[in-house]
Amino acid sequence: MKALYFAWVRERIGVAEEEIEPPAAVATLGELMGWLAGRGENYAHAFENPAVIRTAVDRLHAKHDAPFAGAREVAFFPPMTGG
């Protein structure tokens, strides 16, 4: 599964995208952020306040309690500031 990061989440982690293989026990986007946060200081910094991070599954907005099984792509980013 591909993980994508945008804006300051991307900057803190240091990569824009990567392949990830979370363990089967990690089922929701919220749990996935917790798992990612344990991968290193850069990830811990990016996900230090998960409540502010917005998440998407296969390019659709999804809440933190949403499961991601079968997804091709998950994304993590700050609140949007377009327009």
């Binding site: 945008f6 300051w8 907005h61 994304a75 980013f77 700050p78 609140p79 949007m80 377009g82 327009g83």
Partner: protein, 152 residues
């Protein structure tokens, strides 16, 4: 059916309006919203706009479909730019066409409110003064979230 573009290049607002109404005699109202880059009191060198390719287009199209379901629109065109945008330049264009003005105004207003909060774009400010350091990410405004409540 709405037409959506996410692009780095500039656009011609007059040409977009003309394209939306070309060959039609049933359109009574066209409303245009143009979002421009402001210079923040002369301190801004450029806005840098990052986006999520694929999702950005998809989210805008989804919001346009919602607008078309709510109001009797005859046309809907949205263009959102990404990349470095200097003060005075175009950022976003929304054009709505309808038989009567109320629907065209309301739909354009709705589209902008939703674009700001739901379309995956992130702005950061690059300052003229190099001592200002790295460009800072723009924080979302509480007003923008409040604006969405008007449509619920």
């Amino acid at each position: 059916m709405a037409s959506v573009s996410v692009q780095s290049r500039d656009y011609d607002t007059a040409a977009e309006i003309a394209a939306l109404t070309a060959g039609r005699t049933d359109v009574g109202a066209v409303v245009t919203f143009s979002g421009l880059c402001r210079d923040d009191g002369g301190t801004l060198e450029a806005l840098e706009i990052e986006h999520y390719p694929g999702m950005a287009e998809g989210e805008i199209a989804r919001v346009c479909a919602e607008a078309e379901a709510r109001w009797p629109l005859q046309g809907c065109r949205v263009i959102h730019r990404h990349g470095a945008i200097p003060p005075g330049a175009n950022i976003v264009l929304v054009v709505t066409a309808s038989a009567h003005r109320a629907a065209a105004f309301a739909a354009a207003d709705f589209l902008m409110d939703y674009l700001k909060s739901e379309a995956p774009f992130w702005k950061r400010n690059r300052r003229r003064d190099a001592a200002a350091g790295q460009p800072e990410w723009v924080a979302p405004k509480a007003d923008d979230a409040d604006a969405l409540d008007r449509w619920r």
